[in-house]
């Protein structure tokens, strides 16, 4: 039987005239990695803040571990680990001291805390930096420290709010691998990001948000099946006039055609012969083609088709 860890029903949060979260509902099951995807300002962080009772909600019900969430629900909060967008560590304390401090907020027994702190250090691989202060760490290492501080007390539910913002690709990969490991060790994870590649790579289920509302929900395959675009064909062509563009648009499975900077981009419905049909047209009209790419739809395509705008708009 699937155990629901987080249940949000009809959440509403307003900031004066702005509706930051609008009748938003969400269920997170035990052991899954749920991705909350949406552009900046879509309401992800506000949802997380409401979930953690860091802000008061205007309407809706939030239950975590089957209990009603409130600002003083310490018994719930002690089992939650949070890694927020902003790095929140003490500049004056070393890596070890920072992790020990945060872990100490929940783990009172010295021996246990010492073990947990060491495990967190091993996990984020900051063993060589334990005596360094945060300002001596690079951006990526600082993010790892931030994560270690949030997870050292071994929470059952881990919430990561855009933990890879302004992180180099190598550290990003490292952080994503670490999150997978945490999930393998049994933690349920809520991961918010506006990087669709990360969400695709990491999450078993995805919720797409925009303007405080849930746009879609499902696995990445389910989400991609929800849209018309099944394939995007990109071809480098030196010259292409409007007549040929219209000719391409008339192909049965083609839904849109764009030509810009000598790159032809054709979106097609799901099918097996899209590339063949396009190539046949070019061949029949003696249009020479350069590099040819065929891509399956991305989450950006899903978002674009559902909202009419790009994820990174």
């Amino acid at each position: 039987m699937v155990n629901t860890i987080v249940s949000i029903e009809n959440l509403v949060k307003r900031y004066k005239d702005l509706i930051a979260v609008d009748n938003f509902s969400l269920h997170v099951n035990e052991g899954e990695v749920l991705g909350l995807l949406g552009p900046n300002g879509s309401g992800k962080t506000t949802t997380i803040n409401c979930l953690l009772a860091l802000v008061t909600k205007d309407n809706g019900d939030i239950n975590v571990f089957g209990k009603k969430m409130s600002q003083n629900a310490y018994d719930i909060k002690r089992d939650i680990g949070v890694v927020l967008q902003n790095v929140a560590v003490f500049e004056e304390l070393t890596v070890y001291e920072n992790i020990d401090y945060f872990c100490g907020l929940y783990i009172k027994d010295n021996a246990t805390r010492k073990r947990y702190v060491q495990e967190a250090i091993d996990f984020v691989q900051l063993n060589d930096q334990v005596k360094m202060v945060p300002k001596k760490l690079s951006g990526g290492l600082l993010r790892r420290l931030n994560i270690a501080c949030g997870i050292a007390h071994k929470p059952k539910l881990i919430i990561l709010d855009e933990p890879t913002v302004a992180v180099d690709p190598q550290s990003r990969e490292y952080i994503l691998d670490g999150i997978k490991k945490l999930n393998e060790q049994g933690a349920t994870i809520i991961y918010t990001s506006h990087y669709m590649e990360e969400i695709e790579q990491l999450c078993s289920r995805i919720v797409i948000m925009d303007a405080g509302k849930k746009i879609a929900e499902g696995t990445k395959q389910e989400l991609k099946r929800m849209i018309k675009t099944g394939e995007t064909v990109k071809i480098e062509i030196l010259n292409l006039d409007e007549e040929h563009l219209n000719g391409l648009r008339r192909i049965e499975t083609v839904t849109s055609v764009k030509y810009r900077d000598e790159l032809l981009e054709i979106k097609c419905e799901q099918g097996t012969n899209n590339l063949m049909l396009v190539m046949r047209y070019l061949d029949e009209h003696n249009i020479p083609a350069g590099r040819i790419l065929s891509e399956l739809p991305t989450l950006n395509d899903v978002f674009l088709e559902m909202t009419g705008k790009e994820l990174r708009d």
Binding site: Y15, L18, A20, N40, G41, G43, K44, T45, T46, N49, L52, L54, V55, T56, Q71, N72, A73, Y74, K77, R78, I80, V82, V83, L84, N86, A88, F90, E92, L93, E97, D100, Y101, F102, G104, L105, N146, C149, G150
Partner: protein, 371 residues
């Protein structure tokens, strides 16, 4: 709780800005003041310290009792002149004060506000005379035949007594300054208290670590502030030790009672900072500027009060926490324990009231950033 306090202390100790502003400023200013005052005391002891004063008498031929006493005091360089000349000389800085004799029942003293030590010495001379003037009057009325010998005798004694008083007065000034610097260093926790309170209220900052109840947040803030207070007390003792052991200033105060006042001073400073951090209106920047202004104002008013003795400044200083604390410690020297306890209670209660207000503000305020 212990873990939090441990790291609160560590953070305060590694806060370079805090350590610089609390220890170095007090030590540097105290050292400068010490050498300035010390050099004057040497001059007093060597007999090379002179205070130029004018004596204005209603009848130059008539020698008054007070005039005789003045003539006996070695450190005074007396010039007899009329009031207009005397006022001009005082204005130009050629003299440090004017003694006016014979116009009223008691002699009067006119001093300029910028003559700090000299003014204090002249004040103590006239005070000394006024205290003994009744004795001379009694002798003149009841036993006029003994007046001359009594006059000579008292004048001699008066000179000695005044000389001793002057030295004591100089020591008191030095002691007061040193205690003021120690108190200033103890109060420096004001800025750390401000920063810690704001930090405790920032749920975005707290989110990743202090995901605890409101009560938990209050406990964390209290242990944080107590940690800073402990460091502030340590700083006050270190400054005190520097003045007493390195400079050799005799700070004749019971160390336990001084320690209690350091604790309450530090707690008051930290609580004031936290209060400004969470309760005072305005943006963070405005509140920070007001706090800096208040802190500097306390110090400046303290100095002005000690140096110039301006009546308005003195009245304001009655409510200046820095001077209240200095007064409290100085009261110990006079054996005035009631006064000391009174001041300590006022400070302690103020600190507690501000802390309670801060806690309530912490409970009420919620994070309001939209994403």
């Amino acid at each position: 709780m212990f873990n939090n306090m441990k790291y609160s202390i560590k953070r305060a100790l590694r806060d370079k800005e805090f350590m610089l502003s609390s220890i170095l400023v007090a030590v540097a200013m105290g050292t400068v003041m010490f050498f300035m005052t010390d050099s004057m005391m040497d001059q007093v002891n060597d007999g090379t310290f002179y205070i130029p004063v004018a004596v204005v008498e209603s009848n130059a031929d008539e020698q008054t009792i007070f005039g005789n006493i003045l003539a006996e005091i070695d450190m005074l360089e007396l010039t007899f002149m009329d009031m207009d000349d005397a006022l001009y000389a005082l204005e130009t800085g050629d003299i440090s004060g004017i003694f006016e004799i014979g116009y009223a029942d008691e002699p009067r003293l006119l001093v300029t506000e910028n003559a700090m030590f000299s003014a204090r010495i002249l004040h103590s001379i006239i005070d000394e005379y006024v205290m003994n003037s009744q004795i001379f009057t009694d002798i003149a009325m009841n036993n006029p035949q003994y007046l001359e010998s009594a006059l000579m005798n008292i004048a001699d004694q008066g000179a000695v007594t005044t000389q001793m008083d002057l030295t004591d007065s100089v020591i008191d000034v030095m002691q007061m300054f040193m205690i003021m610097f120690v108190t200033t260093s103890a109060l420096a926790g004001i800025f750390v208290g401000f920063a810690r309170a704001i930090e405790a209220n920032n749920d975005q900052h707290l989110g990743s670590r202090r995901l605890v109840s409101s009560f938990g947040k209050m406990k964390l803030l209290m242990t944080d502030l107590l940690g800073v207070t402990i460091v502030s007390v340590g700083i006050a003792f270190a400054t005190w030790a520097y003045f007493a052991l390195v400079l050799g200033v005799e700070l004749q105060v019971n160390l336990w009672l001084a320690g209690l006042s350091f604790f309450l001073t530090s707690l008051f400073g930290v609580a004031l900072g936290a209060f400004f951090g969470l309760v005072a209106p305005g943006t963070k920047k405005v509140r920070e500027q007001i706090l800096t202004g208040a802190y500097m104002g306390m110090i400046m008013l303290g100095f002005m009060g000690s140096q110039f003795g301006n009546e308005t400044v003195n009245r304001i200083n009655e409510y200046n926490p820095l001077m209240v604390l200095v007064d409290a410690i100085m009261a110990l020297n006079l054996g005035s324990y009631d006064r000391y306890i009174g001041f300590m209670i006022i400070l302690g209660v103020s600190a507690v009231v501000m802390l309670i207000a801060t806690i309530f503000a912490l409970r009420r305020t919620r994070h309001v950033d939209a994403n």
